[in-house]
Symmetry: C2
Subunit: 433 residues, 2 copies
């Protein structure tokens, strides 16, 4: 049986893992599946870096991606350079040349889904993308195959390793957000410019991919309500813990009949929920479907080897078809999720419980003022805790509310923040039970 020839574009962290994996476990994969993988060409701008991989021969190096796109013997192109451009052009050219594509590029997929899959369909080739969401976690395969029989009701994802690492450090060591971020950067877990992770933008891109597969709906990440973790403090993590909660950055999709609620934000979740045990860089996806009930997939959300594992499993998947049916594949194998029509829940009408932390000078009447404003906006208090008074100093006043409408909450908080004895912006964190 012939080898399946692979062209790898991008030999950075994940690409390096792919080279390692094929070197170390190529024989194992052959024994298990009968598939012989051959890395015919590896492209990276930094050819010195390429020379550090001992399993590669010089003849396999290139700094010109066209050598891969124009090579008639290459069956599968792995794109691992990330970002929309120039990755998009390379992927489209590869597909146009009848090559299958494996990518981990969440930015590209959430931006240009239709263009990419239309091109793939026209050329009868596959695009696989397990590594685009959740690193080693097989969430894409599960949504496409295992859960395809289900009407999904709920997805909760911890989809960003950087923010989960930062929140874990703040929780377990009491670090401030800035301190935890610096540690994450020094360990290579956060990038120099961590904005996309911290702001929740990365999670929103991943949620957009989950939405297409799980709900048959295409939403631009920009249109998903997104809030980052910049304003979470160790104080809030501690208060939450005292009441049995953990704070996690969640990507949420909730369906009620034909209405979808989509949001990415930090949330208090109960300490007994399986997601609360997801620590450090790990990721997890909780899925509720009408037939499967509750399901959780947990694993390494990032890193060279775990992500490479997903990339190569995608390659093996396609390689089976290449070997059995020749290069091209019948169109029916292409993902053909029909778009479903949903209405989207306006985020001002989200009806959920909240954690509130007011900073107040504890003078008589403060609580009365705050609670009057809350009551006027239909917000009722479930639990309350106030730190011991310190004469003339600002102290935290912490509350959990019952379900409240987001629009009302906004109005109430903007009123409360204008009270003279309220010394700082009120901290508002949503709760998911």
């Amino acid at each position: 049986m012939r080898s399946v020839n692979i062209g790898l574009i991008g030999a950075g962290t994940i690409g390096g893992g792919v080279i390692d994996l094929i070197d170390r476990n190529g024989k194992l994969i052959f024994d298990r599946t009968g598939i012989k993988l051959f890395l015919k060409k590896v492209c990276d701008k930094d050819t010195k870096r390429l020379a550090t991989f001992k399993s590669l021969k010089k003849s396999q190096f290139t700094s010109d991606h066209r050598e891969i796109l124009n090579d008639k013997d290459i069956d599968i192109v792995i794109e691992l350079i990330g970002g929309i451009n120039p990755a998009k052009e390379m992927v489209l050219k590869a597909l146009g040349a009848g090559k299958h594509v494996v990518t981990a590029n969440k930015a590209l997929l959430s931006d240009s889904w239709d263009e990419i899959f239309d091109t793939a369909l026209k050329n009868k080739v596959f695009v696989n993308f397990e590594a685009s969401v959740g690193g080693a976690i097989p969430i894409i395969r599960c949504l496409k195959e295992s859960f395809v029989t289900n009407n999904l009701e709920l997805v909760y994802g911890i989809l960003n390793g950087t923010t989960n690492f930062i929140l874990t450090m703040m929780d377990e060591c009491g670090y401030s957000f800035d301190e935890a971020l610096k540690i994450a950067q020094s360990k290579g877990i956060a990038e120099k410019n961590p904005a996309l992770d911290i702001s929740g933008g990365d999670s929103a891109q991943k949620l957009a991919i989950i939405l297409i597969l799980g709900f048959g709906v295409k939403v631009s990440p920009k249109d998903i309500f997104t809030e980052g973790i910049e304003n979470i403090t160790p104080l809030d993590i501690q208060y939450a813990k005292n009441w049995g909660y953990v704070i996690k950055l969640l990507a949420i999709a909730k369906r009620k009949a034909k209405e979808l609620q989509l949001r990415v934000h930090p949330a208090l979740i109960p300490g007994h929920h399986l997601l609360s045990g997801v620590k450090g860089e790990d990721n997890a996806v909780f899925v509720r479907g009408d037939f499967i009930g509750d399901s959780l997939l947990y694993g390494k959300g990032a890193g060279s080897w775990p992500t490479a594992s997903s990339v190569v499993s995608d390659v093996v998947d396609i390689a089976k078809h290449v070997v059995s049916h020749g290069e091209r594949s019948p169109a029916t194998h292409i993902l053909r999720t029909r778009r479903e029509s949903f209405t989207f829940h306006e985020h001002d009408s989200f009806d959920i419980p909240y954690y509130l932390r007011f900073s107040v000078i504890d003078k008589p009447g403060v609580l009365a003022k705050i609670s009057t404003i809350l009551a006027r906006n239909n917000i009722s208090i479930e639990r309350m805790y106030q730190e011991v008074r310190k004469e003339g100093q600002s102290v935290p006043l912490v509350m959990l509310t019952h379900n409240a409408v987001e629009g009302n909450m906004k109005k109430a908080i903007s009123e409360i923040d204008k009270i003279d004895v309220v010394t700082d912006k009120t901290v508002v964190i949503r709760i998911e039970e």
Copy 2:
């Protein structure tokens, strides 16, 4: 595009779920995949039961499975009658007739794997079996596809819903084993004859299937060291909890280079481990691989709808091939895991920590006698707790040990159980950190 015709043999709990699923979500599956599933014939001895399914017409009923096996228009046979005979004959006949098979039958697969897959290979048809392990949990697909790139190091499975339900009831409500079993039976969670579940035999069958896919090794369930939960008491669960542990029935496969350790038994696991949060009928599989690192799949381990979800996802998987490539499929698609050669760790040489509960009349010198015997067998005590003395009455003496060799432990316990002030058989439970 033509419908894919299905013959269902066995309309019990899971079969009923399959009928429900195709009725309720058939259109959804079509929208997502382009696959039209048609239940051409449903066979059950109890045709009155068949009449209760409103989505079935009388022309779809039969009490004779040959009507399915001989129907040339049926592409896929779903076998859900369970047990080795007569299921085996039906499956082999279906394969021989060129029909693909989907089954949930762990007893059959763990017994007759080679015969079934050789027959499938010869006839170029598929056998899918996601529902045979872990209900709705996509562990089979993950082992076959997602983790195929990994050299696995460790699998911990909570694979039996009945025993996990019983242990949870004992833990949370303090019920005895017998009481918890009765409740499980009254809820339909345990069978009238619960021996296969309680004894760990069901978990061993499932572990045998995991071993083939995850480690490329075929082991008869009978050859897996197996201990059930019959002797677990609420007292032990409580003592374990005081030290931060939870007791779960685990199916374990541990690899060290080319040596495999296989066992099914109740074990103390740390309360912070994700598996400790798996409650009631739920199942979970923890997998450690060289590239993925640690991974967990969690979900409903049993029940009509969750198991049916896995069955129908297997059907959809095959249906894609039927529609694209005609009925038969190329041999390469068949699972062709080459057998790997492992040596098996003799269970007398397991080297693990233990929980011990002695029942002793607390006279001076008892502890000295017990600890001398332990020391002589190279067993050192990590922690100890003794209940307050009750004059002349038997009290529990509880210990956690450091790693100890199973053979030594057996010798020590048989000596200790002969001491006159030891009033009852010592309880020995293994610990997995």
